[in-house]
Symmetry: C2
């Protein structure tokens, strides 16, 4: 069944979301950070990614149930010129990670590199948004996080480590940054839900049934564990991502993140490498463009018409989607408007019209 | 065809290799570092990995042809308390990376984190040996490098990025460190050569023919490009590994590493995170053991009898192989002994006897 969508004006959507988060208790600055991160994800990803503006409803529920603290202290527990350990006090992960990356960028401007490890946080959203924050500041940005134990270790039928996504972004002279951004599982539950909703099968390497059997049925796999990219390799990097965030940071790891809905105990690491410490930014951009040219000049495989850089497909999706505003799944838009009424949000979302491009 | 192997005494092998490298022009300290790194790899990996003691022959050839400088300057071009940029001046990559990790560890002991980026280097060997150097110093160690353009970007039939291996190691209380260590391709050319030698087919996701077709024939794929783990994901991380080493470090990237045999222009990054900056080392070890217990307590998939930690299989291989010395492929041992005679090495390799375990 095709999904019906509507384009809305981006600025009005940002104002609406920001006001919504302010009503929910966030500071004006944090509300704006969170709203814009969700719109960034809405434009960048397939709607099945699940990190878009629909999260306003999710946070209204979580904040009203006191499961996350919209005014949580961002406590710097310890710091050196290059490193900081932060306790996010069960605040909003996207906001905590944005503040942590800001601190990492500051440290990189004196030491060349800055890293901030955040514990006692919650879902940080898309890794790309945090990596791109550093990219916009003239850095290479690196963001990774642990998560609930949805991934089966290699050989297991039950999850014990997270999808533990990584994002790395770097500037180019091409009009868009290069952005690597992915979970260490072949796919996430959001994409499985999307397939189920569309009535489609899924590839056999996405997930196991609860009995540990491979399956192409998204419904059968929904209660099972997700599979890693590269078998033991993706599992190894996911394990180490837990070590580099929760274990070293004094936070949760393995089975504990997401075990208690009132304290998700997620940990992240945000790293910035200052490009100007090494060379002028324009020199770096020229080197990146040279590298891009090398990759794009390779002959394609049968079935491929061109070779894309990491994040290039997403950059095109953002450009095409946002040409006429932000396309939203009609179900999501209707729920946003209903939520706005519930919360007494006075800002309006300006509707542009039906979205026909079907660039999802 | 099964491979015939012989066990030799480890200490005598180390002395022989060290003397060999000294004859080739390395300093006594560098010769010992290199010899022990190769023996570490010999024990840790399947012989098809190619990073073992057979490299003495390779370096005799490369040094005699003046393709690599055994006495190269290790030049710290720039440094901050947490970061350094090093020019290895076409020295031996394994030695340059070991020195760089030593510097990264020192920096981590004051800043909590230390990173050293090395340019103008050569093949650094196994990522595990460098990551484990930091682990032995009470750190989490991270090592990654770019390499020759053997990996096809997603959608390409020709290589443009390296296998770009990553290693991450962390201490535990279990008697062995956890070590993640892998190339970002599904397999390497060494394993393809091994399959060819054994007359066996290979999995279809290892490499393409030069025409870009999938194949299970290692000989057909030997002139083609290697495939990434996780399709576009492994390609994305490989691309970014080039950015985080060669592009930012002012070294080679993409098509240029290995293009000139007299200057391989490989770049690495070595990172150490000091555990004591965060918590007592024993606390960290206990947390790692708790994490290991979580993973190992998961139910297995059909076909698996237990769940291993990253690097656990290799730790067992080292323990079983080295119980009676270092098992060497007889072809490799014969060539080592011949090379020793050519070089006038006076140290002896003490042979223990035939190796029958067939733990490869």
């Amino acid at each position: 069944m095709p999904i019906s969508m509507t384009s809305v004006d981006r600025q009005s959507l940002s104002g609406f979301m920001t006001e919504g988060f302010e009503v929910l208790g966030l500071s004006a600055e944090d509300a704006r950070i969170f709203a814009d991160a969700l719109i960034f994800s809405e434009l960048r990803f397939h709607p099945g990614h699940g990190q878009g503006v629909r999260r306003l409803r999710r946070y209204q529920e979580r904040i009203s149930q006191k499961l996350v603290d919209p005014r949580a202290l961002f406590e710097v527990v310890k710091e050196s010129p290059a490193l900081a350990l932060v306790d996010a006090h069960n605040g909003i992960g996207t906001v905590a990670a944005a503040r942590a990356m800001k601190l990492a960028i500051e440290k990189s401007k004196t030491c060349g590199i800055g890293q901030v490890i955040v514990r006692n946080s919650t879902h940080y959203g898309s890794s790309a948004v945090h990596a791109c924050q550093a990219e916009e500041a003239g850095c290479i940005g690196i963001a990774y996080t642990n998560a609930g134990p949805e991934m089966a270790p290699w050989g297991a039928r039950e999850g014990a480590v997270g999808t533990n996504p990584w994002g790395i972004a770097a500037p180019t002279g091409l009009g868009f940054p290069v952005v690597m951004d992915f979970a260490l599982t072949t796919a996430g539950k959001g994409m499985m839900l999307w397939r189920s909703r569309e009535g489609r099968k899924m590839p056999l390497d996405w997930a196991l049934t609860p009995d540990g059997e491979v399956t192409d049925d998204p419904d059968a796999a929904m209660k099972g564990a997700l599979l890693a990219i590269g078998e033991y390799k993706g599992y190894g990097l996911a394990f180490m991502t837990d070590v580099l965030t929760g274990v070293i940071g004094g936070g949760g790891f393995g089975l504990t993140p997401y075990a208690d809905p009132a304290r998700l105990d997620v940990s992240h690491a945000l790293t910035a490498i200052d490009i100007e410490w090494f060379m002028p930014l324009d020199t770096f951009r020229a080197r990146m463009d040279e590298f891009a040219g090398m990759v794009k000049s390779r002959k394609t495989r049968p079935g491929f018409s061109e070779i894309l850089l990491p994040g290039e497909q997403e950059a095109r999706r953002v450009a095409r989607k946002s040409a006429d505003g932000v396309p939203l799944d009609d179900e999501v838009l209707a729920d946003l408007l209903a939520l706005g009424r519930e919360l007494g949000v006075s800002s309006r979302i300006d509707v542009i019209g039906p979205y026909h491009e079907h660039v999802l």
